[in-house]
Symmetry: C2
Subunit: 309 residues, 2 copies
């Protein structure tokens, strides 16, 4: 069940209609690791941080089975920093500040002990770095899942398209799927991505409106849990990705049926993530909490219609 | 299984990114009747039209069991007319023209033969007219379902609140639920509507993002079917309502479990409606088409997770 996760480990400062955080630990790979560690006992983490990154965070993750041999700590440098403000709908946000810092020349190192990886999760990151990770693995993993964002479509589309050719599952949100394909219909966008761009599976994240999983002519939909309050959506997409790949890696089953379960686990984890600032809630939840939340998803969509043949 | 439907029967002229219709037959009660007639053999229709309304439409509906004794035809007057243009997202639209015509002083007549009605569907209409219909029924129906819209919240909120006190199920879209309650969270909006305003059930329609059914502490979610093309969303909400109440009236079962099925049938019918201009597609579909579409909904959300106790 070896799982390699690559992505940012960083600082965020977040404003929402409900409050404002200090500079807190964030980053795609951080959320993915917290989330996936509910399913697998070992995660091989690849990232780069500055000297300012708290050792307590790395040791807290290590206690959850997240190995940090591949996490480079750059002396005298600062970690990536992002600051943003969410609008009332919690689906749109303004970036207030971005400081690349150590991310500017991230050269991902894959320790020898990571080489047996079966599952690779490429968190949102410069496409060229995602590609380097793939190339530096001696054997192709059984499943490569990739997250990306509109920003890379605007400034590094060619690199992005090259990585797409190498991955099995692409994970984007609805507006990114539209931007990547110039198709407004998500069904048409999915056909174009799976037919022409590389990935054989596509996950489209729609935030509070749930998520879609496409493969060949099949489509699966999982709602987001209707929540009384969404406190902070930062990291929800990464947490979703962590639950998805974590479940797949734990079960070693990459069938469409099992990916559906991965989507449900991902959605359940994401529904916890948004309840508090940053990854705070993810540090608290237990296996029981997760199972109870999954049961809520079952109740939410379960219906019983007797169809006449 | 007596079902009374009240609402507009009218003309629409529609522009979408994909085309432009002539002046075609529309109106909430028209869509509801076409949709519900797939489930029940008799519908008691209450509406008002002008001399310009095509007799062929009334006879086509009559052939489907839609009685028009309660449809007033105003000599020398014109039917209600609406014209609108949809944006690319198909969820937002601009009204280009509204001509009230016969609707300006609609005094709904309930024929004696309609008095035994068990199910009442109040299509979107002036709240005062909806109230008159309720008052003119000698016995309260077993279930009253009401649709409304933001327009009435702006110009007739007091009247609307009075009708709300009389109904069992309110059907609105997400922005209307927010507007009615001043709550952004749909879960909080639902609690307020069911706790303070009258309805014990709430259906929130989210267009391409599906629909939610709330009752006490239970919530059910049905997705919209991901479609390659949404050609014209006009009437989709009314068609959804018609499928919902049609299924309930046909089964005479107003349990939460059966309402879930109603939501699925409503969603299935709505997914046909948007495939062509106006109610055109609704005239073509067969019982088999509907069952096949419902099967697609089953596949779309079905997953199998074994939970540990």
């Amino acid at each position: 069940m070896s799982l390699l996760v690559v992505g940012t480990m960083a600082f965020d400062a977040i404003e929402t209609p409900f409050g404002k955080s200090d500079k807190i630990v964030g980053g795609a790979a951080t959320y993915i690791a917290w989330s996936a560690s509910n399913f697998v006992t070992q995660i091989n983490q690849v990232a780069v941080v500055g000297e300012d990154f708290p050792a307590t965070e790395l040791s807290a993750l290590a206690a959850r089975g997240v190995r940090n041999e591949g996490v480079q700590i750059k002396k005298g440098e600062k970690s990536f920093f992002w600051s943003g403000k969410y609008h009332m709908d919690m689906n749109t946000r303004d970036t207030l500040d971005t400081q690349l810092n150590v991310l500017a020349d991230f050269d991902p190192i894959i320790p020898e002990s990571y080489q047996d990886t079966e599952f690779l999760m490429l968190g949102n990151l410069t496409p060229a770095v995602q590609m380097q990770v793939i190339k530096r693995l001696k054997n192709r993993p059984k499943l490569i899942v990739m997250d990306t964002m509109n920003f890379w479509m605007e400034i590094a589309l060619d690199d992005l398209k090259k990585v797409l050719k190498e991955v099995d599952v692409l994970m984007v949100n609805d507006s990114e799927a539209r931007q990547l394909t110039n198709e407004y219909s998500l069904v048409k966008a999915a056909k174009k991505i799976m037919g022409e761009m590389g990935p054989k599976y596509l996950v489209i994240k729609k935030g509070e409106h749930g998520a879609l999983l496409f493969h060949e002519d099949s489509v699966f939909f999982a709602p987001a849990l209707p929540l009384e309050d969404v406190f902070d959506p930062t990291g929800a997409g990464d947490t979703f990705a962590g639950g998805f790949i974590g479940h797949l890696a734990a079960t070693k089953d990459i069938s469409f049926e099992n990916m559906k379960r991965g989507i449900i686990y991902g959605s359940a984890l994401a529904s916890f993530c948004v309840e508090k600032f940053g990854a705070e809630r993810l540090r608290e939840i237990t296996k029981d909490d997760i199972e109870n939340r999954v049961q809520e998803f079952v109740s939410l969509v379960q219906f019983d219609i007797e169809l006449v043949d």
